[in-house]
C-alpha cells in the first residue's frame, strides 16, 4: 500500500514539475522550449527523475551490485566504442574513413563487439588457457580469482559443476555457438532467398505452391517444430554427435528459410513491377540475369538487415535447444548449455552476487552479441534507406 502511495506521489510530483517547466519554457524565445507539449515536458521530467534514481542506486545502495556492474560496463563500452570509431577515422581507405565519420556510437560499439567475438572464435585454441572439456579444478569455484571470496587466480571466471574452466569454455563457446549459427543463417538465406526471388519473378502456380508450402511450415510453432525434428534426427544420428549437430544446422536452416522466403518474395515482388525489370524482360533476358543482376542488387539492404536479425534468432534458437538438451551436445562448450547447467546458482543472488554471476556470464555473452548485431543492422538499414532518395 505504501509503495503504491509513494508511486502515486512521485507521479503527481512529476506532473507538477512538468507543468511548471513547460510554463517557464513558454516565456523563453527558444523555439523548442516554447512549443514543447505537456507530454514532452513530462517525458523530460521522467528522464531526470530516472537519472536521479540511478545515481542514488549507484552511490548509496550497497545491494545493487549488478546495477553497479552494468553501469561500469556501459561506461567502458562507450569509451571503447568511441576509441574504436576514432581509430577507424584515422586508419584505412577513404571509403572506410568516410563510413566511420558518419557512424553513430551504437554502431561502432556493435562493430567492435562483433569483431572481438569473431577474433575470439577464430583464435579460441590460442586464447583459452585450458581445453574446453578438460577437468582442471575443484567444482563450482566462484569467479573473481580472489581466494578470500572462494576463487582461484588460475580460474578468473571460476569453474563449472564438474570442474572445467569457465573462461576456456566461454571462449570455445564463441567458436561453437557463433560458428554454427553463422553457417545455419547462411544456408537459410541461400535457400529462402533464392526460392523467394524465383517465386516473385515466375509468379503464378509456382509461387502458389511454394507459398502454401511455406505457410504450412510457418503454421507450426518453430521451437516445437524444431524439437520434434531434433528428436527424430537424434534417432537417426545414433551415437554420432557430429551428425546430430549437422542435422540441427539443416533443421534450423529449413525453419528459418521460410521467414527469409517470405521477405525475399515480398521485396522481390516490389522490384519485379519496376519498369527496368519490364525493360529487361522485353530485351529477352533470362531468369538468372533478372534475379542476380537486376533484382538482387536492389534487395541487398532489406536482406542484409534481415540477415542480422535472423542471425540473432538462429543463435537464440540454438541456445534454447541446447538449454533443452537437444542442441549442441556435451562435451562441446556451448553458451546455451552453460546457462542450463549453472542455472540454479541464480537462486543465490541475494547471498552471493558472485555465485549468481556464474550462469549470467554465458547469458550475457548471448545478449551482448544480439544487441551488437542489432545495432549494426539498424545502422545499415538507416544508411541504405538514406541512399534511396
Amino acid at each position: 500500500m505504501t509503495t503504491l502511495l509513494g508511486f502515486l506521489g512521485v507521479l503527481a510530483a512529476l506532473l507538477v514539475a512538468a507543468f511548471a517547466a513547460r510554463a517557464a519554457g513558454q516565456r523563453t524565445s527558444n523555439a523548442y522550449l516554447r512549443d514543447m507539449t505537456f507530454a514532452g515536458a513530462f517525458g523530460w521530467m521522467l528522464l531526470l527523475a530516472a537519472l536521479a534514481g540511478g545515481v542514488y542506486l549507484y552511490a548509496f545502495v550497497d545491494g545493487a551490485v549488478f546495477f553497479r556492474w552494468a553501469v561500469q560496463f556501459f561506461a567502458v563500452a562507450a569509451v571503447a566504442a568511441f576509441l574504436f570509431r576514432l581509430a577507424g577515422r584515422s586508419v584505412g581507405t577513404e571509403a572506410t574513413k568516410k563510413g566511420f565519420r558518419q557512424m553513430p556510437l551504437t554502431a561502432s560499439f556493435g562493430l567492435l563487439t562483433i569483431l572481438l567475438y569473431a577474433l575470439t572464435a577464430i583464435l579460441a585454441p590460442l586464447l583459452a588457457p585450458y581445453g574446453q572439456s578438460e577437468v582442471v579444478g575443484t567444482v563450482n569455484m566462484l569467479p573473481g580469482g580472489d581466494p578470500a571470496t572462494g576463487g582461484d587466480p588460475a580460474h578468473p571466471l571460476g569453474t563449472d559443476q564438474i570442474g572445467r574452466d569457465l573462461l576456456s569454455r566461454l571462449i570455445y563457446g564463441a567458436q561453437n555457438t557463433v560458428g554454427i549459427a553463422f553457417a545455419t543463417t547462411c544456408i537459410a538465406f541461400f535457400v529462402g532467398g533464392a526460392l523467394g526471388f524465383l517465386a516473385a519473378t515466375i509468379g503464378g502456380w509456382f509461387d502458389n505452391i511454394l507459398s502454401r508450402a511455406v505457410d504450412v511450415l510457418m503454421a507450426i510453432p518453430s521451437l516445437i517444430f524444431a524439437l520434434l525434428l531434433m528428436t527424430i534426427a537424434s534417432a537417426w544420428a545414433g551415437n554420432q554427435q557430429w551428425q546430430l549437430t549437422l542435422y540441427m544446422i539443416f533443421i534450423i536452416a529449413l525453419i528459418d528459410s521460410t521467414r527469409v522466403f517470405r521477405l525475399a518474395r515480398a521485396v522481390g515482388q516490389n522490384i519485379v513491377v519496376m519498369d527496368y525489370i519490364e525493360a529487361a524482360k522485353l530485351r529477352g533476358e533470362g531468369l538468372s540475369y533478372l534475379i542476380f543482376r537486376e533484382i538482387l542488387p536492389n534487395a541487398t539492404a532489406p536482406l542484409l538487415a534481415e540477415f542480422g536479425l535472423r542471425f540473432c534468432f538462429v543463435f537464440l534458437t540454438i541456445a534454447a535447444l541446447s538449454f533443452l538438451g537437444v542442441g549442441i551436445q556435451p562435451p562441446l562448450a556451448d553458451w546455451g548449455t552453460m546457462v542450463r547447467d549453472l542455472a540454479q546458482f541464480i537462486n543465490f543472488a541475494a547471498f552471493s552476487p558472485l555465485a549468481a554471476a556464474l550462469p549470467l556470464m554465458a547469458a550475457g555473452a548471448i545478449a551482448l552479441l544480439t544487441v551488437a548485431v542489432n545495432f549494426v543492422v539498424d545502422w545499415v538499414l538507416h544508411r541504405s534507406s538514406g541512399l534511396k532518395d
Binding site: 513558454q26 524565445s29 516554447r34 512549443d35 558518419q102 519496376m274 519498369d275 527496368y276 519490364e278 525493360a279 529487361a280 524482360k281 522485353l282 530485351r283 529477352g284 533476358e285 537486376e294 542488387p297 536492389n298 541512399l387 534511396k388
Partner: protein, 549 residues
C-alpha cells in the same frame, strides 16, 4: 493603400541535404491583399511549394526558416507559438494539396473530414457545418451535393475529390488559401472543371489565394498577379496581362517560348508502303474486363503517331499489347508486314530488338544500383555481342548522341542525374538496341517544360537521322502539336478518330476530340471566361464526357 493581408519580407529558407544546411530560398518578398490571387510559377526546385508552406508559418521536415518575416494580418508567423498558429491554420489560412487522393484520409467519409475543422475551431457545430458543406458542394457543382459527402474518398472521381478538397478548405471561410498545384495530376477535361470551380468560389467569397503551378496557361486563368521564381530567387512580378504580353526578364521569356516548338508535318507515306508497325483490330482484356475494342492503326517508317486520350482510355494498354506484355485476345500485330507472336516470350531476339520502349518515370525505368555504362552497355552486349573496350566505345558514342559528355557520366548512378538527364539515358538504352520502332510512353509529362522541350527536340533529331518510327503516348495536346505527324484519339478502349495532324487540329472534329482540344488552357487570360460562355457551365468536364457516352 491598406495594409496587405500577407506580408513576407526577405524570407530565406534552408534545406538539409547531406547533413548540411543549404539555402534554398534566397530572400523573397511577397505582398498579398485581401481578395487577391497571386500566381507563383517556376520549374521544380524553384522553391514555390516551400514558400507556399512558409506563408502558413510551416516548414516540412528538413527545411527551416533562417531569416526574414512572414506576417499574416499583423501576426508574426515565424515566431508565433504553436498554439497561436494552430488557431489560425484551417480557420483563417487553408491549404489545398496537389494530390487530393493522398490528402484525404481513406478511412473517413468526405463530410466528416470536412466538418472537422469548423467544429474544432468552434466556428460552427456539426449540423450547421454539414449543411454548409452541402451548399459548398452545390456551388462547386459536384453531382448530388446532398449525398456525395457521405461517400468515402475512393468512391468519387479525381476531379470531384479535388473540388471536395477545395470545399473543405473553404469550410471556415478562410482569408487565405494556398493552392499547391491542385490540377497538375488531372486530365484536361477534368482540370477545366476544377479551375472553373476554384475561380468561382474564390471570387464569391473574396478569398485571397496563392496559386502555385508550373503551368503558365493555368496560372493565366487564375491569378491577378504572377510572380516568377527560379532556384529560390524572384525573377520578376507583374500583373497577369503585363506579364504575359511583355515579360521583362530573359528567363521568363524562355518559359513563354517553350510552347512555340513545332516541327513541320512530314509528307504522307507513299501509297502501298508497308507500315513498320501495323495494329489490326486488337481486343485486350484485364481478367474479364475488356480494355481495348477493335483498335487498329498503322505507323510508317520515320513517322510519329501520337496516341492521345485521358487516363483509362487504353493508350498505354495498346502499347503493352504491341510489346507483347499483355497479349491481346484477338487481332494481329505486324512488324514490317510480318505477323508477330502476341506474347513477348515467343518472339525472337531480333523481333524484340526492333521494338523498344521509353518510359514515363525515368526513376523506375533505370535500375538504381547500376551505373549508366552498365545500363546502356547491356543491350549493346546483349544484341551485338560487343565486350570490353568496344562496348565502352559504343556506350560513349551513344552518350554523345544524347548530348551528355561520356567521360563525365559513364560511371555515375542514376540517382546522381537530373530528371531530364535520366530520361536521356532511357532514350540511349532504347537506341542501343538499334530498333526501328520506339514507343514513348508519356516521356515528357514528368518533366519541366524547358527540359521536356529539350527531350522532344532530341527525339525529333534522332528520328531524322535514323528513320525511326515513334508511337508517342501522351495526354498533352501541346506535345502532340509539337512532334506528331499523325494523331490517334482514344476513348474507353476505342479509337474515336485518327488522321494526319493537320486534319485533326482543324475542324470539323469528332465531338470528343473537340472537347479535348477546347479544354486545353491557352495563354490568353480571358480564355476560361470565354470558353465557359461559349460552351455553358454544364458542358465541360465530366458532365460533357458523360453526355457523349
Amino acid at each position: 493603400m491598406t495594409e496587405p493581408l500577407l506580408k513576407i519580407r526577405g524570407l530565406t529558407l534552408e534545406g538539409l541535404s547531406d547533413e548540411t544546411w543549404t539555402q534554398i530560398v534566397n530572400g523573397v518578398d511577397l505582398d498579398l491583399h485581401r481578395g487577391e490571387v497571386l500566381g507563383l510559377i517556376g520549374e521544380s526546385g524553384a522553391g514555390k511549394s516551400t514558400i507556399g508552406l512558409a506563408a502558413m508559418g510551416f516548414t516540412r521536415d528538413g527545411v527551416r526558416i533562417s531569416g526574414g518575416s512572414v506576417e499574416f494580418d499583423g501576426i508574426d508567423l515565424v515566431n508565433a507559438r504553436m498554439g497561436v498558429k494552430r488557431d489560425l491554420l484551417g480557420k483563417r489560412i487553408a491549404y489545398v494539396a496537389q494530390s487530393a487522393a493522398a490528402s484525404f484520409n481513406p478511412a473517413h467519409k468526405l463530410i466528416d473530414q470536412h466538418t472537422e475543422a469548423p467544429v474544432e475551431h468552434g466556428v460552427m457545430n456539426e449540423k450547421e457545418s454539414q449543411e454548409d458543406a452541402m451548399r459548398l458542394y452545390e456551388r462547386l457543382r459536384l453531382p448530388n451535393p446532398e449525398e456525395i459527402g457521405f461517400r468515402y474518398p475512393h468512391q468519387v472521381s479525381g476531379g470531384q475529390l479535388q473540388r471536395a478538397m477545395t470545399a473543405m478548405a473553404m469550410s471556415c471561410r478562410p482569408d487565405l488559401i494556398i493552392f499547391d498545384e491542385p490540377t497538375t495530376a488531372l486530365d484536361v477535361t477534368t482540370q477545366i472543371e476544377v479551375l472553373a470551380a476554384i475561380r468561382d468560389i474564390v471570387e464569391q467569397f473574396g478569398t485571397a489565394a496563392i496559386y502555385i503551378t508550373h503551368d503558365l496557361a493555368v496560372v493565366a486563368q487564375m491569378a491577378d498577379r504572377i510572380k516568377v521564381l527560379f532556384r529560390g530567387d524572384e525573377v520578376e512580378e507583374a500583373a497577369t496581362r503585363t506579364m504575359l504580353d511583355s515579360p521583362q526578364e530573359d528567363y521568363t521569356r524562355s518559359l513563354w517560348a517553350v510552347r512555340s516548338f513545332e516541327r513541320p508535318e512530314k509528307p504522307a507515306p507513299a501509297a502501298g508502303a508497308v507500315p513498320v508497325i501495323s495494329v489490326d483490330a486488337i481486343d485486350a482484356f484485364y481478367g474479364d474486363v475488356q480494355v481495348l475494342r477493335g483498335v487498329s492503326f498503322d505507323i510508317h517508317e520515320g513517322r510519329t503517331v501520337a496516341v492521345v486520350g485521358e487516363s483509362g482510355s487504353g493508350k498505354s494498354t495498346a502499347a503493352r499489347c504491341i510489346t507483347g506484355l499483355l497479349p491481346p485476345r484477338s487481332g494481329v500485330i505486324r512488324l514490317d508486314g510480318e505477323e508477330l507472336p502476341l506474347d513477348y516470350r515467343k518472339r525472337s531476339k531480333e523481333q524484340l530488338r526492333q521494338i523498344q520502349m521509353i518510359y514515363q518515370m525515368a526513376d523506375t525505368a533505370l535500375n538504381p544500383r547500376k551505373t549508366i555504362g552498365e545500363i546502356i552497355g547491356r543491350p549493346v552486349e546483349f544484341y551485338r555481342g560487343l565486350k570490353g573496350a568496344k562496348r565502352r566505345d559504343r556506350v560513349a558514342q551513344l552518350l554523345h548522341e544524347i548530348e551528355l559528355p561520356p567521360g563525365e557520366y559513364i560511371d555515375r548512378l542514376p540517382s546522381e542525374l537530373s530528371g531530364g538527364q535520366k530520361q536521356r539515358i532511357g532514350i540511349a538504352r532504347a537506341l542501343a538496341a538499334e530498333p526501328k520502332f520506339i514507343i514513348c510512353d508519356e516521356v515528357t509529362s514528368a518533366l519541366d517544360q524547358l527540359v521536356a522541350e529539350g527531350i522532344l527536340r532530341l527525339l525529333a533529331r534522332l528520328q531524322d537521322e535514323r528513320k525511326l518510327s515513334y508511337m508517342f503516348i501522351t495526354h498533352d495536346l501541346a506535345t502532340v502539336r509539337a512532334i506528331s505527324d499523325e494523331v490517334v484519339v482514344m476513348k474507353d478502349g476505342e479509337v474515336v478518330e485518327q488522321g494526319p495532324k493537320r486534319e485533326m487540329f482543324s475542324p470539323p472534329h469528332h465531338p470528343y476530340t473537340d472537347l479535348l482540344l477546347s479544354s486545353v488552357p491557352e495563354m490568353d487570360p480571358d480564355w476560361l471566361t470565354n470558353l465557359l460562355e461559349e460552351r455553358g457551365r454544364d458542358n465541360i468536364g465530366d458532365a460533357a464526357v458523360n453526355k457523349m457516352a
